[in-house]
Subunit: 312 residues, 2 copies
């Protein structure tokens, strides 16, 4: 027997099932259409059928978990590897072909811009978005994982802001007008949206005083904006790499091969773009798979657990 919280559980089968905690822990809901309930059928028969179904559900959940978790962890590992590869490649590109890094208003200060934007707005942001989906965390207290999610997002935001500061500083020092290219419009929009998302997310999901109704309202918007920021940041990075290569590899003025001849720098930076796209696709894979959503966030779960009410 499966009972609703607050109702009594009066027979031993119920007790055994409750003790085993099969359904309460997995939060599995049994669709009623799987049961026949007519006026000649008493509770004991229904119970037997329910138990039979429950065994099938347990089998399904176990099978599903067997199938699901390794694929999740492969995707998560791929996400981490691609993220590290992105950061490594963007650092190598500006260190090897563009003179390294400094903070003095020169071209070398500009080099911090792509490194910090790719690291913050793409890599740390993407990892921060998927960390909350790790199945291992589903049975644990949500708070530490929410805090980790918020902390990673804050780190990503700080890196992005410093990255923007680097380019504003250089533009200012060289008298170049700021924010004229479409790349800069998309990049600034991504960072502004991200800052808003972080502040609203913090107030809505972490402050104990925020009402449950607000959280329920915010949740789908938070998920949608999360994906949108990834879209914007990827578009900003791709257009930024493209723009930088057209600026750097003019061929005739610098003596180096032009971009159209695909010299080693161009090939390397284009490959960095491919890595960023691959990273974003893996993040999107994890975010789009509804089977990997935290059980409390699934649409069929009508109950919403406020952070500081049930868990702490």
């Amino acid at each position: 027997m499966f009972s609703m919280p607050g109702t009594t559980c009066s027979d031993s089968t119920c007790y055994q099932l409750m003790q085993k905690g099969r359904l309460s822990t997995t939060k599995e809901r049994l669709p009623l259409k799987h049961f026949t309930t007519n006026t000649d059928q008493c509770g004991s028969e229904i119970l037997a059928e329910a138990e039979n179904h429950e065994v099938k559900v347990k089998h399904k959940v176990t099978e599903s978990s067997k199938m699901r978790c390794p694929v999740f962890y492969i995707c998560f590992l791929l996400c981490l590897c691609l993220g590290l590869a992105c950061v490594f490649c963007v650092c190598l590109w500006f260190n090897r072909w563009n003179g390294g890094f400094a903070w003095d208003g020169s071209e070398l200060q500009f080099n911090w811009h792509p490194v910090l934007m790719v690291s913050g707005l793409v890599v740390v942001y993407g990892i921060g978005a998927v960390v909350y989906r790790i199945p291992l965390t589903w049975r644990q207290n949500k708070l530490p994982w929410k805090l980790l999610h918020a902390a990673l997002m804050l780190l990503a935001l700080i890196l992005s802001i410093i990255g923007l500061q680097a380019v504003f500083y250089v533009h200012n020092a060289k008298g170049i007008p700021p924010l004229y290219s479409l790349h800069s419009w998309v990049g600034i929009a991504a960072t502004a949206l991200f800052a808003t998302q972080w502040a609203v997310g913090m107030a809505g999901f972490l402050l104990p005083c925020s009402p449950m109704s607000l959280r329920k309202l915010l949740k789908p918007v938070h998920v949608w904006l999360g994906g949108s920021i990834l879209l914007l940041s990827t578009a900003a990075c791709i257009s930024g790499i493209n723009e930088k290569l057209f600026f750097s590899l003019k061929g005739n003025t610098t003596g180096s091969q032009p971009y159209s001849q695909l010299p080693p720098e161009a090939l390397f930076a284009n490959s960095l773009g491919v890595l960023i796209i691959a990273f974003s696709m893996v993040v999107l894979k994890i975010l789009s798979n509804q089977q990997w959503q935290h059980p409390d966030s699934r649409p069929e779960d009508t109950a919403y657990t406020p952070l500081f009410q049930e868990e702490n």
Copy 2:
């Protein structure tokens, strides 16, 4: 009483409920934990409680539909308006500031490239992706909507391929190497992925001989790649507009204002980029909302309806 397809329905209440088709049409599943079933409680009591709960569910479904549908249709209308605005603006940009259109290997033939790529790979693609989510279609035969989805995607693919052909033709005529920029890599990857997605989707979801197990396996990959193609096509368009403006608005060579001074053309084309981003975000909003998914595509729906088995 709510019965499983294939089981008998033996009392009048069941019959009335089935006749009203409340649950079978909405495919609403009642979580079992909302019911108390103990050995002292017979079917009639359970039935009364189930009916009571069903009334609440119906109320919830009605309330939910009231809330949900207008928001969906607002988003859908916004999607159509933004899509039309994107097509209008990209045509106007190349007609007013770049000499119009031709198919003769000149710059005028190049102008078809952005028009066809924005129209095909972004606008028609995005509308094709969300058309299957229209709630009005949920109670109807799925086949015409699947065919419309496939037809719009085919149109999008044809437009994109002609758009690519335009730029390859011009590059060939002018001796410019093809496929060197990151923009071109991302654009070609988006189109190749889209062509593969269309062919596999066609074979997997529309051919009557494709097994149900294959469809179940394909579905999450199809959804994920659908979102990924949108990500790639948006990134390709943003980087393409950015690149085109840097090429066209050099200032010193053409006598026109440089891009950095944001002349009217630059402001207009940047705004087109913002429209494309807004369009993609609205498409993402519709795709990411699980409440707007076709009921047969929701993860909690364990039954999978093959196209040519139950419907036709």
